[in-house]
Every structure is written in C-alpha cells, then in structure tokens.
C-alpha cells in the first residue's frame, strides 16, 4: 500500500515532499520518544507521532521510513517542514489522535514489522 492510498481514510494533509507519496508502506511504528523510534522502527514503516521537532526528519531519514504522520492536530516546526522537503521525506498531518490513526492503519492492512 502507498501513502497516497491513506490520505482520505486518515484525513491527511501533505506538508512536505508531496512528490514522494508513491513510496510503498511496508509497516507502521508509533512513538514520541525519538530515541525509541531510532532504535526500533523498520525501513519502510510509516511513523505516527506527535513530535514536530526538526529531529524527526533526521530519524525518519536515518531509518529509511516511508513517511511521518503528525497526529492529533500537531503542527511541525517551520524548520521541520523545510528539512523534510530537502530530504524528500513525506510529512503528513491529521487532526486524528494517534490511537485512531494506528487503528485505521491496522484496518487498512498496515501492521508492525517483525
């Protein structure tokens, strides 16, 4: 499944790297401690978080994630948007809280990767 196929179901708006939404999503990870996400997320995961700090782009790029969803109406810092654009890392926002986002992802067939 691709990020483009999630847009409507998760009420997503694109903030960065709109041209990279055709990337294949292999699984999902959720977390707000970047140290944890850096250690445990898998390549191809879509990451659900409420952290909007620029460091999320570095973590997502380092782990080769498919994209980042900022949940619960959180807005990324301006620098986060800019860096995500530079890195080609899709940054998507939704008013839905993390629990709801993850539930809907699971229903769409996106699970955690072993």
């Amino acid at each position: 499944m691709k990020l483009t196929e999630l847009m409507k179901e998760l009420a997503l708006t694109v903030r960065s790297a709109g041209k990279r939404l055709d990337r294949e999503v292999k699984g999902g990870y959720a977390g707000d401690l970047l140290s944890d996400v850096m250690a445990n997320s898998k390549a191809g995961d879509v990451w659900v978080t409420i952290q909007g700090h620029p460091n999320i782009v570095a973590v997502a790029t380092l782990r080769d994630l498919a994209g980042v969803i900022l949940a619960n109406g959180r807005q990324p810092d301006a620098e986060t948007v800019q860096r995500a654009e530079e890195e080609g890392m899709p940054l998507l926002c939704t008013p839905l809280p993390t629990y709801e986002v993850v539930g809907r992802l699971y229903r769409l067939g996106i699970h955690g990767q072993d």
């Binding site: 140290s35 952290q51 700090h53 460091n55 973590v59």
Partner: protein
Amino acid sequence: MAPKDIVRRACEEGLDIIGITDHNTGKNVGAVQEAAKGFSVSVMPGMEVQTIEEVHVLTFFETIDDLRTWDGMVYAALPDIANNPAYFGDQPIVNADGEILGFEEKLLLNSVRMTVDQVFGEVQRLGGYCVPAHADRNSFALLTQLGFIPPNLNIVVVEVHDLQRAQRLVALKDLQFITSSDAHFLSEVGRGKSHLIMDGISFAELKMAFEGRNGRRVIPQ
C-alpha cells in the same frame, strides 16, 4: 523545604552558589533570595521548564526581574488545567520564613506549549542561559525525547545525573558536564555539586564557566 532551611543547609554544605529551579515556575525563588540575605551563599534565579517535546531544560537568569518576566511567559504557555492536590500534592507559594502565601492553581507538571527552540530563543533574548537537565537519564531528557542533540542549539554544557554514565554516552561527547543535587528534599541539598573556575561570583562569570571561555571552566570530577 522552607527557604531559610535551604539556605542554612547550603551554607553547611559549603556551597557558594545554588540554583533554584522549580518545575515550570519561578514564583518561589524570590523567597529563597530573601532568606539568603546576610549569608555566604548566592541564589541564582532559575526554573526547570518542560517543553512541548517533554524535554527538561534548566533556565537561569541574572536577576529576579528577568525570571519574573520569563515566569509570566511560561505561565501563559501552560495548559489551563487545574492542579488536583489529592494526586499531585499542593503547589504552595511561600515567603522567606516558609509561610504559605497562596497556592499555584494551574497544574505545573504539564508541558509548556513552547518548543525547545522557542525556550532557548526566548531565554537568550532575556539574557538568560539554558542548560539541558539530566541529559544522561532515560526520561524527559534531550536524548530520549529528540534522539540526539539538535545542532542548532549550540549546546556546550549539560547537567547530568550520573557522571560516569554520562561519560560513556557517545551522544554527549565533547560537552561540559555539571552535576547537581536536584534536591527535592532538604537532606538532598549538596549531595551533588560542581566545581567551577571563576573570577568571583556573578552571572557573567557563571556563563563563561559553563561555556569554558576566558579561562573559566567546569573542573572535571
């Protein structure tokens, strides 16, 4: 911990400077400064702020007026959620004698709606100084919350809980460490301290020592 008792304990421990850094409030610092009049210990006005990323940052100011300005900004950025003393305890505001003048009603343990970048920016604009708190710990620390030290903050000094652990963390390499008591009880005052090379006691000297400039520095323990 009554202000007079904190000052007495600090003097007994031989401390020259203490920082008062309550969580998201600076409203009790004036009382400690008042209590320290006539004693050998200097009280540095401060506050431990919890940013929106849930990073704890120690903020220090030269004057109590600067801290009060900062306190006003932090208070406005705290969510409007009332404290429940049954769960979290009272949040008293006291005078130098420890008499309760009133209670802070907003819950102070929440995150302030400011990013770590905004906290550093505003504190520096007010002439203050930021030191990331307990940078080696596994909760509410820069590294746990943000994975690595954001380079744009130009951090040169961090406060650490366990010096030996901190020295093993690659992510903290090349930084100066200060250790402190993080005292929440009177008996803990002085259990951790830092030795600094300074030319007299002033805020400017302290900043230079934190940054290792002009021959001032933190003496590694």
